[in-house]
């Protein structure tokens, strides 16, 4: 986002749905932000006026609707900020700061991408998928979750992906194996130009291995506790990988990421 000014605005909630227990999709109207947003980027959101909670909370774009001037976030209620958010309804106001961080970029001449995620890690993926579809890129989706119900936005992904592979820990849908085994199978006979993963250290590790074996282009979308989201506080540092000539280097997840080449960062 070189040179683009940060935008801080009050924006209207268009609607909110609890898609499964404690998981919400919140749709917000903010043409200024949507116009500039790139999948993989995020916003800092506040739905409170007082000082408790104090900080804004970071959320990635789940879907972007540039024509409508709106976007959606997909979030899980985990603490006091997301609890307050869960009461939001059409017409309410939230304060936004964004778009923040670096979004994804498809390598030149990308034909096929894979998305690999677990649980709430699916949050940035629909936006990536939409972008890929727009460019005529095929999507291979690999999603895992603890149980069937936690395969969030599965239906939407199924509609848009060329193939969808699912694993659940309890085998309530798909197998209970590693979802990256399916990816490995695909890689054996298909050239995937870019892989995006989010939401699980284990997935990241497996994909790193596959990267070495198959020479993939792979990115991970990271999360870290954030106070500012725009590079001011240095609170969101993550370690650069040592064996990557970055000895003793830290990245800021908010400014250098949240999308990182998979083998450049430790988690």
């Amino acid at each position: 986002m070189k040179g683009a000014k940060l935008i801080q605005v009050y924006a209207k909630v268009l609607n909110q749905t609890e898609i499964i227990t404690n998981h919400f999709i919140l749709r917000i109207f903010s043409p200024e932000i949507v116009k500039k947003a790139i999948p993989g980027q995020f916003i800092m959101l506040s739905a409170w006026k007082q000082k408790d909670p104090l900080l804004r909370r970071p959320f990635t774009f789940n879907r972007l609707f540039p024509k409508e001037g709106s976007f959606e976030i997909l979030y899980k209620k985990v603490g006091k900020g997301t609890e307050i958010m869960s009461y939001l309804k059409a017409g309410d106001q939230v304060s936004l700061l964004g778009p923040l961080g670096n979004g994804i970029k498809f390598p030149q001449n990308t034909k096929k991408i894979a998305i690999v995620c677990r649980g709430i890690g699916v949050a940035p993926m629909l936006a990536i998928i939409d972008k890929a579809k727009e460019k005529g890129i095929d999507i291979y989706a690999y999603i895992s979750a603890a149980t069937k119900d936690l395969l969030l936005v599965k239906k939407e992904i199924k509609q848009k992906a060329k193939s969808l592979y699912i694993t659940t820990d309890d085998a309530s849908l798909g197998t209970s194996g590693k979802v990256t085994d399916f990816l490995e199978k695909t890689l054996k006979d298909t050239k995937i130009d870019a892989v995006y993963t989010c939401g699980s250290k284990r997935l990241k590790r497996h994909i790193e291995r596959l990267k070495e074996l198959y020479g993939l282009n792979a990115w991970v979308i990271l999360e870290e506790h954030m106070a500012c989201g725009f590079g001011a506080c240095k609170g969101c540092a993550c370690k650069a990988k040592k064996d990557n000539n970055h000895k003793g280097k830290y990245f800021l997840v908010c400014k250098d990421g949240p999308v990182f080449p998979i083998d450049e960062v430790e988690v």
Partner: protein, 302 residues
């Protein structure tokens, strides 16, 4: 409403208005993309810089408490030469008044840093961070009268710039430390730094932060900071920069009335990058409404 004079002279440091960022909560990049023009600020302030590169503390580095932020960064940074080469030009472009904050492991390092920076153009003043509450490896100078006096004196020996000493709230009597800094020859006092604090995760039964203990900032500490500014303003005849939980112009005005001549804003600007602009406008409006023609008239009125 007539135009009010927002400028202030702090022991040789001339500011066009009394509002600036607190060290470590403000950074500028090549692509300065803040949603306002940083030229409106009274000054800009770097994160505390050490001589050498520092990695900082183990992760996680920050967590939230009720109306507060606890950080245990451990002052990571690339070292002074990097700052001079890569950051200073950006800061100079952003504002005519650049204050560089310096940290050090022991008195000697402060002196070396001050010496090095004295040769660099475009630095209006140095703030000595004598009070970081989360650096494991160095002692907190501003907890000790002798060390405070020594550090300031050594820095003053080699520096021609106005020197600000940043004090710690974790002391029995902050006015004694303030007087020690004065004996060392300091030009300006700034207070307070973060207050020593911690959080424990009852699920893991461990400290939340990688460094275990950290420093508390934000609205939670405002009444504590205000009291310390008031105490120092009533005992030491030096200009004071008030810091701690300032989140809007009303808060800033409280510090001015308590005796601060300027303020630094930290945590609040992480949440609302526009807040310093709002504070400047708010102070100006207040002065006008109350019939004052200059900022100086309200300093220490309470």
């Amino acid at each position: 409403m007539k135009k009010v004079d927002m400028s202030i002279n702090l022991g040789g440091l001339q500011l066009k208005n009394p509002v600036m960022p607190a060290s470590g909560t403000f950074d500028l990049f090549e692509d300065n993309n803040l949603p306002y023009d940083t030229k409106v600020l009274g000054a800009v302030m770097t994160k505390s810089i050490f001589l050498k590169k520092r990695l900082g503390n183990p992760l996680p580095l920050i967590c939230e408490s009720t109306s507060g932020l606890i950080n245990a960064l451990g002052t990571p940074g690339e070292g002074v030469e990097y700052l001079i080469k890569n950051k200073l030009p950006i800061f100079r472009k952003a504002n005519q008044t650049v204050i560089v904050s310096i940290g050090g492991d022991g008195v000697k390092e402060y002196k070396l840093l001050a010496e090095r920076l004295d040769k660099v153009e475009g630095i209006a003043a140095l703030e000595l961070d004598l009070s970081c509450s989360n650096n494991v490896d160095n002692i907190i100078i501003a907890r000790d009268e002798f060390l405070t006096e020594q550090t300031v004196a050594q820095v003053k020996e080699v520096s021609t710039k106005p020197i600000i000493a940043k004090l710690s709230a974790n002391v029995t009597d902050i006015t004694k430390i303030a007087r020690a800094a004065q004996r060392g020859g300091v030009d300006i006092l700034s207070l307070i730094n973060t207050v020593s604090a911690m959080a424990i995760d009852i699920k893991t039964k461990k400290a939340v932060l990688g460094n275990k203990v950290g420093g508390l900032s934000g609205p939670a500490i405002k009444p504590i900071a205000l009291k310390m500014v008031w105490d120092v303003a009533h005992t030491v005849d030096l200009p004071i920069i008030g810091i701690g939980g300032i989140s809007n112009s009303e808060d800033a005005i409280e510090f001015l009335l308590a005796g601060a001549s300027a303020v630094e804003v930290g945590t609040a600007a992480l949440i609302n990058p526009l807040v310093m602009l709002e504070i400047i406008q708010g102070i100006e409006k207040y002065l006008g409404q109350q019939g004052y023609s200059s900022l100086e008239e309200i300093i220490g009125l309470a």
